[in-house]
Subunit: 255 residues, 2 copies
DNA sequence: GAGTGGTCTAGACCACTGC
DNA sequence: CAGTGGTCTAGACCACTCG
């Protein structure tokens, strides 16, 4: 219960060099992230109330509030008035389209279904190692799957995972799991994807992908490379997807 | 100076139906947006200090602060500690890549240059009318331009603008203007783009675009359709771009 | 009604900028 | 130094949820 002793309050006349000033609420925020990372709080859980946290950390409620505000803005926490503050989870189906920015060109929401094709172990090549922050020839797990929208294949993904964490994934587990892949990672491996970077290019369909996506070989596809990060900005997934944009498009908001 | 009389404070026992509760700071925010819209404050201007606004609106500084916080988060305002709060502007070169999410596959930042090709008037077709919130055969202005990265053509854009606002744009004006297109719109026409939606697909290069982008006809290109909005979520630009992703990629962060 | 998050206030003080 | 935004506090009260 002495987790807050290291807190550094604002200084009137800075005797210490004060190299990088960090406001109290950011320190509180870091402590909260620490609890999320450590698994003390699990996705879906309620966290203690603002006033209780304020007591624990010996700061005012407003300071805790500001810390939580930022974490809620980053989608790590979710506030629900009258109920409490919850750890965000990919089990919530609304979280699904936060990472999959694909929408039908016409018509409303469509049913999606993930169909795992293969799952095998390998050693990281230089590219995968770089993307995942591993050393070359570290163990990795690779998954291939197709994503259907309204029973038609639209995306084929090849997913590279650090073997140290995801060494036990099998095709059967993937087939049996009801829910999204990130929900699977969260519930079976305790890894929560928090943030991702995507790099998009237009490419020509190779023979294999063309067949899987039921398009002509050589027709244009959207190549989407994604690196997903867990709590401490730790990369834990690298995937390359090919999206058929015949009936769908990648939607993006620029704020 | 009585701009705040309509403010509705929280009610203890709501006698009125109170159909949609709106906190004070959101009402303040709306009033601030109104001033931005009306042109009372121009891009790049300093706005009054928090304490002065608090006096004007007869609320506490904290309430004004929260309103400004949201506007800063939406990139309508920019706070600078010690200096003041400023109206965001596209003149700032850092704002350039907020709407152009294209980065080189290898290497650092590259010089960009916009080369206007054509500019003509037309009547809105059904699609342009729908996108821009106009009626069919309303006047529109169309601009075609190529964007170079490091002296190589990478993007070709066709830009549709409401004629009512942009009827006076000429090729010469575009050629003479130093700065980004959005900076041009802002300074010459008082229209500030605040937000945009993009829809991406992979397509095959037609003959004309292939020539302009110096790629093979039929090679894959990234099609980027964008609708840009001004202050009151008013659509004021519709553009279709074709991006060559041979040496560049579209970068996106998923929060 | 108790408990939670959400709003609003008033005041003190810190950090930064520029004169 | 004055003026700005940024932090922190303490307290009052509102809006929402649930038993």
């Amino acid at each position: 219960m002495q987790k807050y002793v290291q807190i550094q309050r604002m200084q009137k006349s800075a005797v210490s060099p004060a190299p990088t000033f960090s406001p109290l609420y950011r320190q509180i925020k870091a402590l909260l992230v620490q609890r999320l990372e450590s698994g003390e709080w699990h996705p879906g859980d309620v966290i203690p109330s603002e006033s209780e946290l304020a007591n624990q950390f010996m700061v005012s409620q407003g300071t805790v509030r500001k810390a939580i505000d930022e974490l809620a803005a980053e989608n790590l926490l979710i506030r629900r008035q009258g109920k409490g503050t919850f750890v965000a989870t990919h089990d919530d189906p609304r979280a699904f389209f936060r990472f999959l920015r694909l929408v039908p060109l016409a018509g409303g929401i469509q049913q999606t279904k993930s169909i795992p094709l293969e799952c095998w172990r390998a050693k990281a090549g230089p590219e995968a190692a770089r993307m995942l922050g591993l050393k070359v020839s570290d163990p990795i797990t690779i998954v291939r799957r197709v994503l259907h929208f309204a029973d038609k294949p639209v995306v084929v993904d090849e997913i590279y995972l650090p073997g140290e964490i995801f060494g036990d994934v099998t095709l059967e587990m993937l087939r049996d799991y009801k829910g999204s892949l990130y929900s699977f990672f969260e519930n079976r491996f305790g890894i929560r994807m928090v943030r991702a970077e995507e790099r998009l290019r237009a490419v020509s369909a190779d023979r294999n992908s063309a067949e899987l996506l039921q398009v002509e070989e050589g027709s244009p596809l959207l190549s989407v490379e994604r690196i997903s990060f867990s709590y401490a900005d730790k990369p834990v997934e690298w995937r390359r997807g090919l999206y058929s944009t015949r009936d769908h498009c990648y939607f993006n908001e620029l704020g």
